[in-house]
Every structure is written in C-alpha cells, then in structure tokens.
C-alpha cells in the first residue's frame, strides 16, 4: 500500500495546473492571433 500520506495543498494545485495551463494558454492565444486573420 502507498505511503503518500501528505495531503494536497493549494500550492500543489496551483503548481500542477500552472505547469500544464501556462503552455496551453500560450498555444491557444498564439493560434487565436493567427485565426483573427480570417476576419481581416
């Protein structure tokens, strides 16, 4: 059985979501900027 008895703190959650969220948001904004050419 596992011995991971330390609970998750809000810092863990922010770090985990930031780790995946920041690159994803950067990619989405990049794509959105290119997509705007459709309306120019």
């Amino acid at each position: 059985m596992a011995k991971h008895h330390r609970g998750t703190t809000p810092v863990h959650l922010v770090l985990a979501w930031g780790f995946v969220g920041i690159p994803l948001v950067w990619g989405v904004l990049n794509t959105l900027a290119n997509a705007m050419k459709l309306f120019q």
Partner: protein
Amino acid sequence: MALLSFLDRQHSVAGPGFSRWMVPPAALCVHLCIGQAYAFSVFNLPMTKLIGITQSAPEDWKLTELGWIFSIAIFFLGASAAVFGRWVEEGGPRRAMFTSALCFGGGFLVAAAGTALHQLWIVYLGYGVLGGIGLGIGYISPVSTLIRWFPDRPGMATGMAIMGFGGGAFIASPLSVWLMARFTTPTHIGVAETFVTMGLIYLCFMMVGSAIVRVPAPGWRPAGYVAPAQPKRLVTRNNVYVYQALKTPQFWCIWWVLCLNVTAGIGVLGQASAMSQEMFPGRITPVAAAGLVGLMSLFNMGGRFFWASLSDVIGRKNTYFVFFMLGTVLYALVPTTGAIGSVPLFVLCFLVILSMYGGGFATVPAYLRDMFGTRYVGAIHGLLITAWSVAGILGPVLVNYMREYNLAHGVAKTDAYNFTMYVMAGLLVIGFFCNLFVRAVHERHHMRQEAADALGMAE
C-alpha cells in the same frame, strides 16, 4: 526491477488528503505532449531540404516519403492502444505514462539520429513505430483513472484529458518553428537538434505526469457523493471483461458511432482550407483560410471539454443524438451557404461541426464506462481507437475522391463539395441509427463477482 517498483499500481494509491484535482493535470502532462503528433507536418518542408538547404536536392527526401512518418505513427497509435490496453489497465497509470514517456521521447531521439544520418528508415522506426507506441499507450493511460476519480463527472474528467490531445499541437507547432529557427544556420537545417530538444522536453514533461498521478484507494468516493439509489438504465454497475466486450453488439454499435462521427469531421478538417477558398473564390484568401483552420482547431479542442461535460448532464446517448442530428442539418446546409455566398454561415457551420468532431472523441470513454463498467474501460477504449484509424483513411479519401470525380464530370469548383457534404450528412444518419441501437449490456456478459475479486477489483 525493485528500482521500478514505484511504478506499480499499489505504489501509486493516493493517501488521505490527496486532491483528485491533481489527476487532470497529470493526464494533461501526457496528452499535451502526445498531441504534438497533429503538428508534425511543420517538419515536412524543412526535411525536404536537409541536403540542398535552400532548395531540395535530388538526394533529398520527398514530401510523399515524409508523409509516411505521420501515417506510421497513427497506425501504431491505434495498434498499440488495442494491443497494450489490458496491460495498461492492469499495471496502472503510472507505469503506462512512464512507458509512454520513454517511447515518445525516445522516438524523437531515434528520429533525430535518422535525420542526422539521413536515413529515412530510422526516422520511420523512431517517430513512426516507437513514437506511435508512445502515442497509443499515452492516449489511453489516464482514462480509467480519471473515471474512477470522478464518478460524479466522468465525461468532464476524460474530456479534460482528451482536450489536451487536441491542444498539444497549439504548443508544438510554434515551439517547433522557433527551435528550428534557432538551430538553423546558412549551411545546416536544425531539424535533428529540434527533435533532440523536443524529445527531452516531452520526456521530462510526461515524467512529471507519471510522478504526480495517483489511483484512488479501493472504495474511495468523493466527499458528499452518493451513487444513485436507482441506477440509470444505460449506466451499469457491473464490469465487462475487455475481450468479452468485443462479443457484445454494444461495442460494435459504439465503434460505428465513433467511426462515422470521426469520418465526417476528419474529412472536412483536412480539406477545410482548400474547400473554403474554392467555395468562396476571392472572398476567402489563403491567409484567411489558414485562420479558419486555426479557429476550427480551437473549436475541435473546446468541443472536447464542452460536449463531454454536457454528456454528464444529458447522458451519453443523447449527446451523440445531438451530434448526429445537428451534424446532419449542418452538413446539408453547407452547400446552401455557398449558394447564397454567406461566409459567416459557412464558418459557423464548420466550427460547430468541428466542436462535435472533438466532442465525439472526448465523450466516448464515458459512454464505454456506462456500458461496460470501470474496470476495463481503458482497455476497451484502446480497442475502440481502431475506429479512429479506419475513419482517418475513410474521411479524407471520401472527400478527395468525390471532389475529383465531380471536377472530372464538369461540376464547377464552387459546387464540387456539395455532393460530398450530402454524403457526410448521410453517414451521420447511419450513425444516428447505430446510436439508437445501443442498449444496456446483457448480464450474461458481466464479470462474476469471484472473477472480479480474483483480479482485486473491489469497485
């Protein structure tokens, strides 16, 4: 081997106080990386000039030869998801994510060696075979874990991960272009160095996912969650063994549901740029068409989260009914948008269609869980991925060949896609009926309690 024991399922059981909201980022660590596959085409043109540098030399690789890299990878994605599904399910998500990271990151490194040595077969072997196996194992690795952590919202949970697969290309495409620009000199094109850098980045990123993922302890339930006393008719509390699922009509109905939904979407996704320019000559320029493709990709990604989350509310079967009914209307409407010259209506049709294409991928794991239970849902999902492989061939072939046929028979370019759109609408009508035939799985297919206990699956 004791060194690798931390990868075992029993070593990744969550302790008290672990938040289930740590699991979606773990899944996204893998899916955002393997979603790079959709952006592989950015390497195609530079790889045709590795020797000639400014233009292709006779001994340089041809685009047609390079196209096989992606095709081989997608083939091995489907094959490995089907073959390794049970291994992934029984070994747990950490071992699967770890293996996927080694295969996918390693595939880049082998492909880099092939590029540096200018041996295309090594690139096929690296990115195509090894990377493709990493894609397949990585794609299914977090599915059942997310479903167990979110019994109250399984659609939303798997939708989040599968949204990452759609979003991976948004990161990979600009990153690849930026890295290649950094490594390219007047006498050298920096594809191999870019492969090495990306392979190492993806390896580390996926390893983080493997490290933070946890499976819930047996019997765990979210705080305040009470399973419905009266189970829904189409949501089972039993489990079906992975290979037994193949013997049920439900598996094959859902296989066709996914295949037809993807066939219709993938056909227009690949041809949207050319189609929009030919249907609206002079009004949609190549630059605007590229913008449309980007916007469609965003809707493809967003639809994965939106529709899968909605399916938790309205049910999986009803969600696919929406895809098939609304999709049929929208496909049938596309020729009219061309006839009346309405670009906004054309764009709107395609954006909604693409959101439902992504939604079809993201909702299917929860559909399988409803039908076959939680225990082998990841492995059954792996088998179902073969529907994607078939659709990946069917969709583009249908669109391309029907366009060629129409042009050869004197149909104007602006109208060349009309018949194709009606055929796609017809495919969705067939999909509607396949979905209609989905009923609860007969109890003779359910795993017996002794077999379940023997497999240590106290659900």
